[in-house]
Amino acid sequence: MATAVIETGERETYLNREYGIKSWLLTVDHKRIALLYLIGVTFFFFVGGFFALLVRLELLTPAGDLVQADTYNKLFTMHGQVMVFFFLIPVIPAVLGNFLIPIMIGAKDLAFPRINLLSWYLYVIGGCLMAYTILAGGVDTGWTFYTPLSTEFLKTNVITAALAVFVSGFSSIFTGLNFIVTIHRMRAPGMTWNRLPLFVWAHYATSIIQVLGTPVVAIAIVLVALERLFHLGIFNPALGGDPLLFQHLFWFYSHPAVYIMILPGMGIVSEIVCCFSRKRVFGYQAMAMAVLGIAVVGFLVWAHHMFVAGISLYAALIFSLLSYFVAVPSAIKVFNWTATMYKGSITYQTPMIYAFGFIGLFTIGGLTGLFLACLGVDVHVTDTYFVVAHFHYIMVGGTIMAYMGGMHFWWPKISGKLYPEFWGKLSAMIVFIGFNLTFFPQFILGYMGMPRRYWDYSKAPEYQILNVLSTAGASVLAVGYLMPMIYFLWSMRYGKPAPDNPWNAAGLEWMIPSPPSTFNFDEQPVVTWEAYNYDEIKGEVPVAQ
């Protein structure tokens, strides 16, 4: 413990304060828990990515030749479930949010450190159930669990998959609850709501969705499991039930869940754009209100996933209209980031390159969302590759770009080491190119009419060229994602020690040592400045190397 620190003469940090497996598995330190999550989400990212690669390889040729139809259905189902529930939803809040929120608001920890650890254990239990589901033969419901297919017809491990989602859902609920209480109750003196970093605002909005939305999908999933076990009939038309009710309950959560994934990413991008433009954010209040607006209005639009599902014509009109309302705050975000760069002093380090990527890809993803909200067009493109491309632009192009940008931005703080800037830039470019090559062709495929979740398109060979491009892009993307994995690990051992504030960035997290000590602050900080006070910060972003 502490003795080891004294002997080597190192400063005591959260990383070296204690050693041994127990000091990690029983820790209540939000920073260590963040690292535990990091291991989990990274593992599931590569599991889900592996499934994705197999899916793409199968689609290289029109015939269903690489795997069996059943296997293919399991692959895209498990790709979806793993990526959505075990990677995208926890990734930014549970890793970066967990690590940074207490520090950014000047607190020693989250409000409920033990519940934070409980969240991680729930995530792990959910993850084990998911892993069991995969190893026991998989599940082929599609990530959406649509009834009555999932309840009455499939013979796979639907119940364990449902249970995995249910348990990980509670992990997400408790994380959100913890964040809300922390942001309300644990802010340092002087850290008023108008001084919160936008990263914190974004997580606040995200947490609201987690707390309000997740329980509804939890009960929907419980009803699916009960229906499968006891044939209750709540979603089974043969017994008088309505399968659309499941879709309503499912999308009540799962549409806002998209915002659980993207809002924290927006928070990261706000931090990065300000830092590398050396500027205050343009329109702080509008940016903060925009994330809250997205979180609230995001709850009013769910049935736009159901325009062709057999809902009432009038309900479809209402939901289409409301869907356009949610686009306005998203547009504000993009315009304000752009305006933030105006008259800045911009440098292009890795995080900023990822942020550029985010803005570009999120713009395309968001605008194609307008196509899907447009009733007449949605009828044609829903359930085709157009939708697949759209949500990958948001979730991969948006969330993962932002996450990668954030990991590079805060890696010096988290690990105390600098990553190699050249490789960082290279990987960012590769990810950007690989991503567009993978998913842009899918927009065209979708408008051509290729339905999603197709294992075999040999009757429609005209789709092959674009599928080949997409698969090629996926391989490039895989390289782009593996590279940071390697050099981050490399830098932990061989990287140069990071200074406390390698980017000369604003914010409380840059005023404490890298890596931080266990209790973050030696003294209670008192905040007397606005967020992004780059006019008061001396110096520029140091040019790398």
Binding site: A303, I311, L313, Y314
Partner: protein, 101 residues
């Protein structure tokens, strides 16, 4: 430190608690009684109105929300009710208009 001053330090008196308790019991009797009277479509309305009054009494007095100086608690409750109603209303926007032509 945080943006409020005090949580519910209110100590409820036995008298007022018993009064609320009696009101809740009376409400239960009323709701059973009203169920046997034919009020047409208003049977449901009356039943839900009585239930809501009872729930409000519990929230305000038993859960001390009336005495708290904390606006946040009230906002949290309002949020829960709002989103619960969103779930019901927008779902029924579908079911209620399916037969319209």
């Amino acid at each position: 430190m945080s943006d409020h001053n005090s949580s519910s330090e209110h100590i409820s008196s036995i008298g007022s608690s018993v009064a609320i308790w009696l009101a809740l019991l009376v409400g239960t009797a009323l709701t059973v009684g009203a169920a046997y009277v034919d009020l047409g479509p208003f049977n449901v309305v009356v039943a839900l109105a009585i239930a809501s009054i009872k729930a409000t009494l519990v929230v305000l007095f038993f859960m001390h929300v009336k005495y708290t100086h904390e606006k946040l608690t009230k906002m949290v409750i309002a949020t829960a009710i709002f989103f619960f109603l969103i779930l019901l209303v927008l779902s029924m926007a579908d079911y209620g208009t399916r037969l319209w032509t």
